[in-house]
């Protein structure tokens, strides 16, 4: 018991406390007047309410398990750690994360696809910021040409940005379908699924808006075609298309719109939705596939998220980074001639592969059937949106099996249409 404690509670007689603790015969008892001197009459006793304020309710008490886990209090890291956790009551969070476990099973690989997409997003942000250093929306083509031809390693950064965008979308599609087939969208994870779809949609818009920025003839005509398809949408089509273009045709003004969309609005939206998505994943834990859930508890094996699981993710990110550089060296992104709104569209012009399905549908449904084609294409996201509310039960019932079959048919349809569009 310290002096402080006795001051806080004057009801406890000091001498009694002493006696209780040290009846040790080896020591001479302290005379009461000496005891009294320690509580020093020259000083005014601090009133209990002030004491309380002094021991300071502004600070949090560090929970005992944190005391144990932190480095010793006499080390620098130990002091900093204690100072931190006395100020921010986030220890439960640390505890939660440190106890977080990821199931280990033979489908584990599919669970790393999401983190791959996250890695590509980081690469996109870094290379995107670097490209913004020299890109100028008022001289789109010549500034990109300068990046490619003049600035050291500018061509490399641009190619990495291009490849990372494509691989990010590929990773998202694989993530979508692996989540679909493992039925991770079922309750209680419907919201995670819906935010995931929103992320895919945002990323596709990022791809579309970024494609125009170099202002070469491929990007110009692809954007012109893309927006004019939008225009054919009944009711609001013309209005939306006009707003997107900033006029009746794609001009440099369109870049004025697409550029802030691409570098500010959509990335912020993406990050916001992504943090919600990841928050849900953290709170609910990673879903377990049916086969794993059916195992008896003693056969279920887990990885600790920190650090076993994470450390094994890092080499995968490293491999992706090396892959990006190698792809950029093998197949650098070329800059086509500057867009000429008056010239004929270049031969074999096609949208990027992730927009190939609607492109191919429009080719298949010409003329008056076009609206039908668009409606069928529009059905794709709707089906993905409703599936968690249709297929809900565990273990899978008839609806679950139907969902799987529809998913397979869908995957085949999307891949077939994309490949068909690319080769035709």
């Amino acid at each position: 018991m310290t002096v402080d404690d006795t001051r806080r509670d004057p009801g406890i007689p000091v001498a009694a406390g002493r006696e209780e603790r040290s009846p040790d015969p080896r020591f001479v008892p302290i005379p009461p007047e000496a005891e009294e001197r320690s509580s020093d009459p020259r000083f005014v006793p601090i009133p209990p309410e002030a004491e309380e304020r002094f021991s300071d309710s502004r600070f949090v008490t560090i929970p005992p398990e944190a005391e144990e886990a932190l480095p010793p209090a006499d080390t620098v890291t130990g002091k900093l750690g204690r100072a931190f956790f006395r100020r921010l009551p986030v220890w439960p969070l640390v505890e939660f994360l440190s106890k977080k476990k990821v199931p280990r099973h033979r489908h584990s690989f599919w669970y790393t696809i999401g983190s791959m997409a996250l890695f590509f997003l980081v690469v996109q942000i870094v290379t995107g910021v670097l490209l913004m250093v020299y890109y100028s929306p008022s001289q789109p083509w010549s500034s990109v040409q300068r990046i490619v031809m003049e600035i050291p390693f500018g061509g490399l950064l641009r190619s990495i940005h291009h490849w990372s965008a494509n691989l990010m979308l590929l990773a998202l599609f694989v993530h979508l379908f692996s989540t679909f087939f493992m039925k991770a969208y079922r309750p209680p994870r419907e919201l995670t699924w819906l935010t995931g779809l929103a992320l895919l949609g945002t990323t596709m818009f990022l791809g579309f808006s970024g494609y125009l920025l170099p202002w070469d003839d491929l990007s110009f005509f692809a954007t012109r075609v893309g927006i004019s398809e939008l225009e054919k949408m009944p009711l609001l089509g013309t209005w939306i298309a006009g707003l997107a273009r900033g006029g009746p045709d794609v001009t440099v003004d369109t870049i004025g719109r697409f550029y802030p969309l691409h570098v500010v609005v959509l990335p912020l939206l993406l990050l916001a939705v992504l943090s919600v998505h990841l928050f849900f994943v953290q709170v609910q834990g990673v879903s377990e596939p049916d086969s794993f859930r059916a195992l008896p508890p003693e056969q279920k094996r887990y990885h600790r998220f920190f650090s076993e699981y994470l450390v094994n993710e890092i080499p995968i990110w490293m491999a992706l980074a090396a892959l990006l550089v190698a792809l950029s060296a093998l197949f650098p992104r070329v800059l086509a001639p500057e867009a000429d709104p008056a010239a004929a569209a270049p031969e074999g012009i096609k949208p990027e592969w992730y927009f190939m399905v609607p492109f191919q549908m429009l080719k298949l449904f010409p003329g008056s059937l076009e609206l039908l084609g668009m409606a069928l294409t529009g059905l794709i996201p709707v089906l993905f949106l409703v599936v968690p509310f249709v297929d809900r039960s565990v273990p899978a019932d008839r609806r679950g099996r139907v969902a799987t079959r529809v998913g397979v048919a869908f995957l085949v349809y999307l891949v077939a249409m994309t490949v068909w569009g690319m080769v035709s």
Binding site: M149, P152, G155, E308, P315, A319, A329, V334
Partner: protein
């Protein structure tokens, strides 16, 4: 100009060689470095209290090692021979004839190496400890000997040094300027790969008694020599490169020549990035040895493979347009013959040993001349495709460009008559979907030549 050129659509013959070779190079480095790891780990296990369990892991390593290096290594090794003789018969012939003695040694070493490996592998728990250690050590020495030999031939192709087509000095060609740095770099890299292989096999160990941890730390230390010395050695190697190559590599950061020459620099960057990631990756497992999993170890192997891709591609590209630097062009044209007066003005197809027997100025003429003279480097629309490179060509500008193409960048000098050039220009137009006869181009060129000599004007040749 020896045999009909092997016409591989989209990839090109050179790319096929490259794909096989790049897989082979990782395996062959592993096959040597792994030998060193077997030897050192055998000794290490003797000093550990649980040596028997370490040797169990080592046996798994040896199994992976045996299967991976002998099966895939042999397949891709033979694949290289098949593909290079088709891609460049003239160059293959030169290498065989010039280095007969070296090849003989290499093949003997290879046989001994395989024998020792089988004796080691199947002697597990049968041979005495000392014999096992001796077999592993001897295996490494012999295997490294085969690197010692093949490295001379490989570096000869880029830096022939004192060797010339006249003196044919084998020793000068073998111990060429690039020999020593290349040998040291490859030796360090193969230790690194050996460690990665060890991580891959250790990934499946159960974490008990700290065994996995110690093995992982042991393996990840194999990256150290490369991490310490590679930057310096790479600089040394870079200094031995032909000055023109080194200049292109240094300048290649920006889009020289329409962004096409930068590719060599980019491959070098890829190799550097992969090397960095391998150093960081093994550091990661130093810190968290227990976290090692199969996916992570595989990923590091992928990084190593990409590193080899970058390094070997940069080295190969550094040689362009030669297959033997300053001696033999990639399309089997000898530099000394091209320099002979009148040689380049002969009808091209008459110089080929395998005469396709076509009527001059027909579309077949252009196609065959393209296949034999251009297709060793250029595909039609795939890797280094000719179609995107000739977007701006007119029939006449192409005809003119071909004559001086060795002064316009990378390509070797053109061999052939005006008819050959007209036929190729016509063929290239047909690739763009335009039908312009070779005879038409020839007539237009003659008219243009007359006009220019009459008017006395000198115009720039369109690139």
């Amino acid at each position: 100009m020896n045999y009909p050129v092997w016409d591989v659509p989209f990839l090109g013959a050179g790319m096929v060689v490259a794909i096989i070779a790049i897989i082979h190079v990782l395996i062959s480095h592993f096959a040597i470095g792994g030998g060193a790891l077997l030897f050192v780990a055998e000794l290490w296990s003797d000093r550990q209290p649980d040596g028997e369990r370490i040797r169990e892991w080592l046996h798994k390593y040896a199994t992976f090692f045996l299967v991976y290096t002998t099966v895939f290594g042999a397949m891709t090794g033979v694949g290289i021979w098949f593909s290079i003789q088709l891609a460049s018969p003239e160059g293959t012939s030169l290498l065989i004839h010039q280095f007969v003695f070296a090849w003989a040694i290499e093949w003997v070493l290879f046989l001994v190496e395989l024998t020792l490996l089988y004796l080691y592998y199947y002697g597990w728990r049968k041979n005495s400890r000392r014999l096992q250690v001796a077999l592993a050590g001897l295996y490494f020495v012999i295997a490294w000997g085969s690197l010692f030999v093949i490295n001379g031939i490989l570096t000869f192709m880029l830096t022939p040094g004192g060797w010339t087509i006249e003196n044919r000095d084998m020793a000068a060609g073998f111990f060429n300027p690039g020999y020593l740095p290349s040998l040291l770099i490859r030796t360090l890299v193969m230790f690194l790969v050996a460690g990665l292989g060890g991580l891959l096999v250790a990934a499946r160990l159960e974490e008990e008694g700290g065994l996995k941890e110690r093995i992982v730390v042991f393996c990840s230390r194999w990256v150290l020599p490369a991490a310490l010395l590679l930057p310096g050695l790479s600089y040394w190697y870079w200094k031995t490169l032909p000055s023109n190559t080194a200049r292109l590599m240094a300048a290649g950061a920006t889009g020289l020549g329409g962004g096409r020459l930068e590719v060599m620099t980019l491959f070098a960057v890829a190799a550097g990035v992969a090397g960095t990631l391998l150093v960081l990756g093994s550091l990661l497992y130093q810190v968290r040895p227990r976290a090692l999993g199969v996916a992570g170890a595989m990923a590091l192997f992928v990084v190593a493979q990409i590193g080899f891709l970058g390094g070997e591609f940069a080295r190969e590209l550094a040689r362009k347009p030669y297959v033997i630097y300053d001696t033999l062009y990639s399309n089997s044209l000898w530099k000394h013959k091209a320099a002979e007066a009148g040689y380049r003005q002969q009808p091209y197809l008459s110089l080929t040993r395998w005469d396709p027997d076509v009527v001059p100025l027909t579309p077949q003429h252009g196609e065959w001349a393209f296949r034999l003279q251009c297709a060793s480097c250029h595909t039609r629309s795939g890797y280094r495709g000719i179609i995107p490179r000739t977007e701006s060509w007119t029939p006449l500008s192409g005809f003119k460009w071909l004559e001086t193409m060795d002064q316009q960048g990378v390509p070797p000098p053109f061999v052939g008559t005006a008819e050959d050039r007209a036929a190729i220009s016509s063929y290239i137009q047909s690739l763009h979907g335009k039908n312009v006869g070779a005879a038409e181009i020839l007539a237009e060129a003659q008219a243009d030549g007359r006009r220019r000599s009459d008017g006395g004007e000198t115009r720039e040749v369109m690139p």
